[in-house]
C-alpha cells in the first residue's frame, strides 16, 4: 500500500520540469505530444487509433478555462504576466475529453494547488497505478517535484503515461519506458527512410526513478513491429545486442515502428514497462530510381540547335550558350568548322566591340561584365584561349572588381565561373576571393540567393552554387552550399520542378540540374531533388517538345530559344555526370589551343595521301593526293608551289588540280637525277586569285599520278613533300608575300608487294547519336594485284561481308578500293589479311556516295532523302544506305550530309569521305 501511495505521489505530486536530456526530433510547430498505454499496449482513443505520440496544440490547451472544470484554484502563472499558463493539467483535460473521449467529471481530483492528486478515472483507468515520464525521464529535480498543475508546457514536450494491472512495475528492474533512439542515442519519435532500402532503428528503455540517475538502456532481443498503423503489423524484427534493428519498408508513405511493454525480470508474469512508437516518413527510394538516360533528348536537341543555329555569333541567343551546349554535349569535335567559324566571327566582333568601349582593356561592355564572362565560358568550351582573342585579352578587365560588381550578384557569379573555366589568373590575386565574399554576403536567411528581395530564387541560388564549387574547401563556402542545397530541396515543387517569379519553368530546373551535378549530386535520384517520385530531371523533360526537338519556357508555352539553350546544356551537364566526365563548367578536360597559334595568320597544313601498298608490276599506275586543311579565298593567293620527293622506280604520269581548286593551271617537272617533282599552280595570263570552293576541309589541291617503272617486292618507297608555299605577290623582299605551308606530316611509305595484297583504313565509327550505331564502322579496303575489278567478300569465320566497289575512291587513289560497314569490334589488321578475303571476277556491287536512293543520279531527291532520314521520316538506314548517306564521313547521319550533297552538287566538289579515304594513311 505504501508503494501504491508513493507511485500515486509520482503521478500527482512530483511531476516536474527538468532539463531535457533527450532531443525529440521533428516536433511539429506549437504541439506537445502524449502517449498512453495499459499493460504494455497503447490504449485506443475515441477514433480507434492508438494514443501514441498524439499531437495536441498548445493553443488548444491555452483555450481551456480551468474555472469551467471547477479547477480555478489550480491556475498557474509562472512568468507572472497575468495570463495563466498552459500546464500538464490542461493536457490531461484535453486528452481526457478530446482524445479518449471521456468526461472530465469521471476524474476524481483531490489535493490543492501545487499538490493536485488524481484518485481515479483519469484516461479511463480505474486506479491510480500509473507510471509517468515527461520528455523521456522520470521527472525530478533535486528530489522536489512539481505537480501537473504547475508544469508549464513548451513546444515539443512529450508525456508517456503507462498504467499497469500489477504494481510490480514499481520495483522490477525491467521497468521503465521504451523509446526509439536516433544514431546519437537520443530519443526520437520520427525516422526518415526510403522504400525498399534497409533502415536502421534503435530501441532503448529509459529507466528513471526518484533518487536515481536517468539511463537509456539498449534493448536487445526485443521484438519491434512495423506497419502503416500501430497495432496492425506488416512484419516484425528483433533488435540486436546494441538495441538496433533493420527494417525494409516496402513502399513510401507514413509507417510506424512500435513495440509492446515487457514482462518483468523479477516478476515474469507482470507487464512492467511501456510500449514505444515512432513515425517513419518513408520516401520513394532514390536508390530504387534508376537514373535515366537523357542522351536521346540531348542528341536530338543538339542536332536541332546545330541545324537551326547555323551561324552562332556573339549574344545570349543563338550564341555562346548554343556553343556551350554543343561543345560540352560533345556534338561537335573541338576543331569542327562550326566552332572555328564561330570563333572567326567572334574575333571580328571582339575587335569591334572592345575598340568601341572607352576603357579599351578588353571590356566588351562598360557595365556588363557578363558579356565578357559569357564569351569566355563559350570560348573555353571550344578550347580557345580568352587571353588572346583578335587584338584583345578578355581577362584583363577582371582586374577591376568594381566593373565585375556593377552587375551585382550576376557579375560576381559569372566572373568566377568564367575565370575558373581555364584557371585564368589576375594580377590582383584577391579578385576571386572578393567575388566569393560578395556572393557569400548576399546569401539570404533561407539559404539561397536572389537578385533582389528576401526570397530565394532557384535559378540564382543554383548559379551561385555552380560558381562556389571550386572553393568548397573554404568552411564558409561549404556551409553556405549545404544551406543552399537544402533550400533548393525545400523549394522544389511537388512535381519535381522549380518556379521563378511564380511560374514553374524550364530554366529553373535546368540551373538546379547544373548545380547538383556540379556538386556531385545526381539530380534524378538524390532524394533532395525528388518529390513524389518526380525528379528535377523529370520536370525538365516535361518541357521538351519532341516533334520540334526544343524546349518551352512554361508548360503552356511554345518552343523557346533560351529555354532550349539552357535545357540543352543542363542535359549535357547531366549526361556528363552520368558518364563520369567533368562538370559543365569544369573544362579541365578541354584541350586548349596555344594562345599565339590563334593570332598567327595563314598557318596552313598540307596532308599527303598515298596508298600503303602497290604492286611490283611495271606499268601499273597509282595516285598520291595533296590536300590542305584550310584556305582563305579573300587573302589574294596568287600561286601555289611544292616540291615532292619521288622515289626511284617511279615516274610521274600527270599532275592535276583538284576539283575545288580554281584560278590557275598546273605546270610540273620531274627532275630524273634528283627525283624532285616540282609543281606550280597559277594563272600566268591573268594573275587570278587562287581559290578553293566549298567549306569543308581538308580540300584536295592536287593529284599526282605515278607509273611503276621498276620496283621490287619488299621495297619501301618513301614519298614526301619537301616544301610547299603560297605566294601573294612577286616581291621576295616582302615578308608577307609568301606563306610557308606546314609539310611536316606530308611523308608516306609505300610497300611494294608481289601478287595479291590488301590494306585497309577506317573511315568512321558510329557514335549512336544520329543513326550510325557505335557498333559499326566503315572501312575502305585497297586490293592490289588484281588485273580486273571483281567481287570481294570478307569472311573471318565470325563475320561475313560483301564489300562494295567504290569507283570514286579507286579513281582517286589509283588502287582498287572497296568499302563496307562492318562490326566495329573487328581489328583492322583482319582487313589486311588476304586469308579473310575471297575475290571473284564477277561484277561487284558498287557504291556511289550521295546516291541515297541508289537510282544512279545524285540530285535534290538524295539531299532530301538525307534530311528525311535524319528526321526519322524513313526507316532506319541499312548498312549500304549508311555508306551512301554519310558523305561527310563523320560518325553521324544528319543534315550536314544533306548539305554536303547540296555542296557537292552545286560546286562539283567531291565528298569529304572520298577526300578522307584518299588522304588517310593505312592502319595496317
Amino acid at each position: 500500500m505504501i508503494g501504491k501511495r508513493i507511485t500515486s505521489a509520482f503521478l500527482a505530486l512530483t511531476t516536474m520540469v527538468t532539463a531535457i536530456p533527450f532531443t525529440a526530433t521533428a516536433a511539429e510547430s506549437n504541439n506537445v505530444y502524449i502517449s498512453i498505454s495499459y499493460d504494455g499496449q497503447f490504449i485506443n482513443g475515441k477514433e480507434g487509433n492508438a494514443v501514441a505520440y498524439s499531437a495536441v496544440s498548445l493553443d488548444d490547451l491555452a483555450a481551456i478555462d480551468l474555472d469551467t472544470y471547477g479547477l480555478g484554484d489550480y491556475k498557474y502563472d509562472k512568468d507572472g504576466d497575468g495570463t495563466p499558463d498552459a500546464t500538464a493539467l490542461h493536457l490531461y483535460i484535453y486528452t481526457q475529453e478530446n482524445i479518449i473521449g471521456n468526461d472530465w467529471s469521471d476524474v476524481n481530483v483531490t489535493g490543492s494547488a501545487g499538490s493536485i492528486f488524481f484518485e481515479s478515472g483519469l484516461f479511463g483507468f480505474e486506479d491510480c497505478n500509473l507510471n509517468y515520464f515527461y520528455n523521456g525521464i522520470y521527472p525530478e529535480v533535486d528530489g522536489w517535484g512539481v505537480t501537473a498543475d504547475q508544469i508549464v508546457l513548451s513546444e515539443g514536450d512529450f508525456f508517456d503515461i503507462a498504467g499497469y494491472t500489477s504494481w510490480s512495475f514499481y520495483s522490477d528492474s525491467a521497468t521503465g519506458f521504451h523509446y526509439f533512439a536516433d544514431e546519437n542515442g537520443e530519443i526520437t519519435h520520427n525516422y526518415s527512410a526510403e522504400s525498399g532500402k534497409e533502415t536502421t532503428f534503435r530501441l532503448v528503455r529509459s529507466y528513471s526513478a526518484m533518487g536515481s540517475e536517468a539511463a537509456l538502456l539498449d534493448e536487445s532481443g526485443y521484438t519491434v513491429y512495423y506497419g502503416t498503423s500501430i497495432g496492425n503489423a506488416a512484419g516484425s524484427v528483433t533488435t540486436d545486442s546494441s538495441g538496433e534493428g533493420k527494417v525494409t519498408f516496402p513502399s513510401d508513405g507514413t509507417w510506424y515502428l512500435w513495440c509492446d511493454g515487457a514482462y518483468g525480470a523479477e516478476n515474469s508474469e507482470d507487464i512492467v514497462s511501456s510500449p514505444a512508437s515512432a513515425v517513419v516518413n518513408v520516401k520513394e527510394s532514390a536508390a530504387a530510381r534508376q537514373p535515366q538516360d537523357v542522351s536521346a533528348v540531348l542528341n536530338a536537341t543538339m542536332a536541332k540547335l546545330a541545324d537551326t543555329v547555323t551561324e552562332p555569333a556573339f549574344g545570349t541567343n543563338a550564341g555562346e550558350w548554343t556553343i556551350l551546349s554543343l561543345a560540352r554535349g560533345g556534338y561537335f569535335e573541338k576543331d569542327n568548322a562550326y566552332f572555328n567559324d564561330y570563333y572567326d566571327r567572334i574575333v571580328a566582333t571582339v575587335n569591334e566591340k572592345a575598340a568601341s568601349v572607352s576603357l579599351a582593356n578588353g571590356v566588351l561592355h562598360k557595365s556588363k561584365s557578363t558579356d565578357n564572362s559569357r564569351l569566355i565560358i563559350a570560348l573555353s568550351s571550344i578550347g580557345k584561349d580568352a587571353t588572346s582573342v583578335g587584338d584583345w585579352n578578355l581577362i584583363t578587365p577582371y582586374e577591376d572588381f568594381s566593373w565585375i560588381k556593377k552587375q551585382g550578384l550576376n557579375g560576381t557569379v559569372f566572373a568566377l565561373i568564367a575565370l575558373d573555366t581555364n584557371n585564368y589568373q589576375t594580377v590582383d590575386t584577391t579578385i576571386r576571393q572578393q567575388c566569393i565574399d560578395d556572393i557569400l554576403s548576399r546569401q539570404l536567411s533561407d539559404g539561397g540567393w536572389a537578385l533582389s528581395g528576401s526570397v530565394s530564387d532557384p535559378d540564382v541560388t543554383s548559379m551561385a552554387l555552380q560558381a562556389l564549387y571550386p572553393y568548397r574547401d573554404q568552411a564558409e563556402v561549404s556551409a553556405a552550399a549545404e544551406k543552399a542545397l537544402t533550400c533548393l530541396s525545400d523549394v522544389q515543387n511537388e512535381d519535381g520542378g522549380y518556379s521563378s517569379f511564380r511560374d514553374a519553368n524550364c530554366e529553373s530546373s535546368a540551373q538546379v540540374i547544373i548545380a547538383a551535378t556540379t556538386w556531385g549530386i545526381n539530380p534524378d535520384t538524390d532524394s533532395r531533388f525528388v518529390k513524389n517520385n518526380k525528379s528535377v530531371v523529370d520536370a525538365l523533360l516535361t518541357h521538351y517538345i519532341e516533334d520540334e526537338a526544343a524546349f518551352k519556357h512554361v508548360a503552356a508555352g511554345s518552343a523557346n530559344g533560351m529555354a532550349t539553350d539552357q535545357a540543352c546544356y543542363a542535359l549535357a551537364a547531366y549526361n556528363r555526370f552520368m558518364n563520369g566526365k567533368t562538370a559543365l563548367y569544369d573544362m579541365s578536360d578541354v584541350e586548349f589551343d596555344a594562345a599565339e597559334s590563334e593570332v598567327v595568320a595563314g598557318k596552313l597544313v598540307a596532308i599527303l595521301g598515298v596508298p600503303s601498298e602497290i604492286s611490283d608490276k611495271s606499268g601499273e599506275n597509282f595516285n598520291a593526293t595533296i590536300s590542305i586543311d584550310q584556305w582563305d579565298n579573300t587573302a589574294g593567293y596568287k600561286l601555289v608551289d611544292f616540291v615532292m620527293n619521288v622515289p626511284a622506280g617511279l615516274s610521274v604520269s600527270s599532275v592535276t588540280a583538284g576539283n575545288r581548286l580554281d584560278g590557275g593551271e598546273v605546270s610540273y617537272h620531274l627532275e630524273a637525277e634528283t627525283g624532285k617533282l616540282r609543281v606550280v599552280y597559277f594563272d600566268a595570263n591573268n594573275n587570278n586569285d587562287i581559290t578553293v570552293s566549298g567549306t569543308e576541309f581538308p580540300a584536295q589541291l592536287f593529284t599526282i599520278e605515278f607509273t611503276v617503272d621498276k620496283v621490287n617486292a619488299g621495297d619501301k618507297l618513301d614519298v614526301s613533300v619537301g616544301g610547299m608555299s603560297i605566294k601573294l605577290n612577286s616581291d621576295s623582299a616582302d615578308e608577307k608575300s609568301m606563306i610557308i605551308v606546314d609539310t611536316t606530316e606530308t611523308t608516306g611509305v609505300i610497300d611494294v608487294v608481289k601478287g595479291v595484297s590488301y590494306s585497309a583504313v577506317c573511315l568512321y565509327i558510329g557514335d549512336d547519336i544520329d543513326l550510325i550505331p557505335s557498333t559499326k564502322k566503315a572501312v575502305a579496303v585497297a586490293a592490289v594485284g588484281y588485273d580486273k575489278i571483281g567481287k570481294l567478300a570478307y569472311n573471318d569465320s565470325t563475320n561475313k561481308y560483301e564489300f562494295r566497289y567504290s569507283s570514286e575512291i579507286s579513281e582517286k587513289t589509283g588502287i582498287m578500293t572497296y568499302v563496307c560497314l562492318v562490326d566495329a569490334g573487328i581489328d583492322m589488321t583482319e582487313f589486311a589479311d588476304s586469308a579473310n578475303f575471297t575475290y571473284t571476277t564477277e561484277t561487284p556491287a558498287d557504291i556511289t556516295f550521295g546516291d541515297v536512293n541508289n537510282d544512279g543520279i545524285i540530285n535534290a531527291q538524295d539531299a532530301l532523302g538525307a534530311v528525311d532520314t535524319w528526321l526519322r521520316k524513313t526507316d532506319a538506314p541499312e548498312d549500304d544506305e549508311i555508306l551512301a548517306l554519310n558523305v561527310n564521313s563523320d560518325s553521324r547521319i544528319n543534315t550536314f550530309d544533306a548539305l554536303g550533297i547540296v555542296e557537292a552538287y552545286v560546286n562539283d566538289s567531291e565528298y569529304m569521305i572520298i577526300t578522307k579515304a584518299s588522304a588517310l594513311s593505312t592502319n595496317k
Binding site: 570552293s693 536512293n853 540530285n859 535534290a860 539531299a863 532530301l864 532523302g865
Partner: protein, 203 residues
Amino acid sequence: MSEEKKKSKSRKWIIIILGIILLIIILLLFTRCNQSINKIPTLTIETPQKISTDTEEISLDVTISDFGDALYPAASMSIAFDPAYLEFIGLGEGNVFVLNEDENVTKKLPEWGCNPSQCNKSGKINIMYLDTTAGKNAFTKSLLKENDNVVLRLKFRLRGSASTGDVYDLVFEDAVFAASDENESLAIARDTLKVRNSKIVVG
C-alpha cells in the same frame, strides 16, 4: 427484196456506222480532255528572240507549268551549256514562292544554291534548293499562279568568241522537284517531269 427495202437496210447501216464514228469521236475527245487534266508538269527554259552580239545580259526564265499535290522540299536542275561561248553570270529571282515557317509571312522566295564559277568551269549549271525541315519551306501547288510561274532566271553573257549565226543549246540533263515520298516527286528520271530545252540564237 424490194428497192424500198434495200434502201431502208442501207440507211440503217449508214446510221450504225455514223453512230460508231460519233462514239469514237466522243471517246477521243474525252481522252484528250482527260489528258489535259492530268498533264505532266513541264519545266521550260524560255527560248529568247535572236540575241545580238552586243547584248550585255541575257536573262532566261525557267518556268514550271504545274505541281502535283505533294510538298516539294527540294529541287535541283542540271543544265548543260557551252562555256566557250556563253558565260553564266548567275541566277535571278523568279516568282514561285516556297512556304515560310513564319506565320506572319507565309511565303518566301527560295534560296537556290549555285556556283557560277564552277558552272563556267564544267559547262553545267547545277542548281539545288533544299529545305532542311523537309516540308516547312517547300514548294507547293498552292503558291503557284495560274500561269507565268517563273522558278528562277538564268543569266548569261555572250563571250567574245560568239558570232552571228551561232546557236547555243541549253539542255536539261536532270531536274527534279523532290517530295519525301519519291513516288510523288516530279523528276525527269521518273518521267513525271517534262522539260523543254532552249536555244540561244545569235543574230
